[in-house]
Subunit: 151 residues, 3 copies
Amino acid sequence: MIKDDEDSIRGLVTFTEYQTITTSKRYDILDITDRVEEVRKRARLGDGFILVSTMHITASIFVNDHEQGLWQDIMTWLEDLAPRRPEYKHHLTGEDNADAHLKRMLLGHQVLVPVTNAKLDLGTWERVHYGEVDGRRAKRVLFKAVGAREH
Amino acid sequence: MIKDDEDSIRGLVTFTEYQTITTSKRYDILDITDRVEEVRKRARLGDGFILVSTMHITASIFVNDHEQGLWQDIMTWLEDLAPRRPEYKHHLTGEDNADAHLKRMLLGHQVLVPVTNAKLDLGTWERVHYGEVDGRRAKRVLFKAVGAREH
Amino acid sequence: MIKDDEDSIRGLVTFTEYQTITTSKRYDILDITDRVEEVRKRARLGDGFILVSTMHITASIFVNDHEQGLWQDIMTWLEDLAPRRPEYKHHLTGEDNADAHLKRMLLGHQVLVPVTNAKLDLGTWERVHYGEVDGRRAKRVLFKAVGAREH
């Protein structure tokens, strides 16, 4: 917790948390919806937004279905549209992950999760995912809750 | 309306509304900017954000030009980059809409509309659109206003 | 500055600023992170969000690495996925920039920058960029800070 304002009338909540995610594979998808709900509870957010945002430029946060076949389709599709190959200019710096920078742009790097009546206000099939496109190392995800305190 | 906080000093507004959209076509684009402005009025939001977010994983919200030729270009382009075809792994579950999951990732699933001086703070050509990629059934869109109350 | 609320308890900040960007090239990428920090200071935002959003439908705001080789890779990649060519339906209106509308959808048109302890809360390599895909004319970017005032 970074800040948790107690003294305003019907308190404005601002609450921040960081979590570290390390995947064993270079490319991977994890459902992190339960983590978002846990942050909401700790923030005591009743109504507002939780920003879920990767702090790395080769990872992503997106909303989609929790279905492993679809996750494979997403990874195949990313490889079709932003293939891993040597010829990127970015690789002149010694890096080998230009594809990851592009793949993450397709997926998006942040999601704003609405909170209403002290619950994540998501549709039936909406799940928040962490999409890793250059893994096998620790990466941080920022969760920031802003809004009105839970009654 | 879910919650409308009256008692704080220069009130923090949190206001939520859901609307249902049903398109007659599988793929369609609708300009929903006027709906966002109506929500702003009902929320009495003077300054802040309105999150417009689809609650379905095969629909999208995006900002672009209100021009029907462009809307056709967008749909053709989505089909080029994320074609409808049988071979997706997601279809092993019995679904036939994996393309829609990918198309909506290209379009994005939510937009944050800024509100300033009790008006949507959009550029001249910016319009908020609902992009349907697996239609012919009722889908919900969430509108959540957060910020300072209109004077 | 549009509005700066002084009278609430531990003030809810809402602060808006517009900046104009004109690139000399049709396609260009600029790092605007320092501008976001300057807005934060002027807003005296201690904790919350700064929305950075282009007000034009052929420009974009995105987070990625400040590396010029990568910027070239991004532009090449955009041209591969959304090529400039005459055959778009949008061009029947007399426009010639349908590719720019599509390219900007790949890049995204807005970013929500978290602010914590009166600093932009970004990862080591995260930088906020303005991506121009139909330049050589003045375009506006909106910055809106919402949250709790700096102590």
